[in-house]
Symmetry: C2
Amino acid sequence: MIVIKIGGSLGTEVKSLAKEIAEISKSEKIVIVHGGSYETTEISKKLGKDAKFVTSVSGFRSRYTDFETIQIMEMVMAGKINKELVRLLQKSGVNAFGLSGADGKVLLAKRKESIKIIENGKKKILKDDFTGKVENVNKELIKILMDKDYLPVICPLAISYDGDIVNTDGDRAAAAIASALSADLIIMTNVDGFLKDGKLVTELSTLEIEESYKFAEGGMKKKLLAAKEAIDNGSSRVIIARGDLDRPLNNALIGKRTVISK
Amino acid sequence: MIVIKIGGSLGTEVKSLAKEIAEISKSEKIVIVHGGSYETTEISKKLGKDAKFVTSVSGFRSRYTDFETIQIMEMVMAGKINKELVRLLQKSGVNAFGLSGADGKVLLAKRKESIKIIENGKKKILKDDFTGKVENVNKELIKILMDKDYLPVICPLAISYDGDIVNTDGDRAAAAIASALSADLIIMTNVDGFLKDGKLVTELSTLEIEESYKFAEGGMKKKLLAAKEAIDNGSSRVIIARGDLDRPLNNALIGKRTVISK
């Protein structure tokens, strides 16, 4: 079983990926998890609401997600991107079933009660943020769908214990899903894998991950964290690979990429 | 089993409906089908694309649904409205599961190859329209969800035989779902029911429906058609009732409304 995390900024490459998934899904169960951050920013802007990013006191940059923003994310992620993937897969002969993590509590998250941020050099507490961390995956429901030969396409919006819809980190949500299903995880991105001093690391153990964080650039740090979480909780292998290729899945499985295991 | 069609233009009333559904769903299986036409028009406008309506040669007015429009419908219907209902129901303690008819081919539709319209008095053929008519309901999947105590919330986008996502009429999609499940159908609207010469018709048989079309105003004609289709194909009862009330479900079941049966 393979969980494939597709980045939100992958464009036309998704078409070739859909064809590869159609081939491979004949012999292997697949679950797709997708992002949508980039397009959320675009559509937000068109709707007259500029995306706002905040920096936490611990130095992580994240999207400020008020109620209006989470509604836009529902539109872009659960609506536009999720259904685009369903359409492409259905056109390739795969019976794709799109859902958000909020549906049927597929992803149950603890909503962050507040975030401490730094704004103009001053500490500030945000309370109206709809973000959270996945704490439980309804694997029974995902398995029911797969047993009936549907291919789940999941967007990483989750439901909180209070019934609010919250945004969660896509890589870490994919890791939670993969480990709950004891599946391998492939994280598609726009680089070849984890680069250390500009050189691709082809194999990495979870023991080496923590000391690797300092070499990780941009979103790679979160991907390494997600990889560690996946393996610590039940996945045997995580692959970080480039998605914008002719045959990205084939490359992820046997080509130039980073393979992380215990 | 009851299928409830909620109009897209129902606003805050949906909150009280969610509470009623939470009560009734303890003893009766419920499926929700919702619209979204009004909000699609609003969001379209904000995104800089004015909604366009066309009139067919047979006199029916419908939304011109090019690819960009169907993508906006995916955002508004499968995203915003569907997840708003999921959130309200989850907050009321119901394990709602939102999906579009395109997911897992829940609604399989024949896409209209072309529409003959009248524009400025001239006949014209539209070919890039993504609308269709539901021809098959995947009742197995809906039943699996209900057997596991999820309450399906379905938006009436469907998948075509070619894997395109198409818009379908919400009332008639709800009728197709209700009849496939041999369920009763409640169509919520913004009037008391079917009015004949301004007077509420409380009971109507399917035999009387065809002669009633000429008295039907606005969207009521399609609701009567949907009612007839539901009963002809397996529902025993269709109720057309007002949704913008304090307790709309209670009113639909025992109050002022139109009940249609064989």
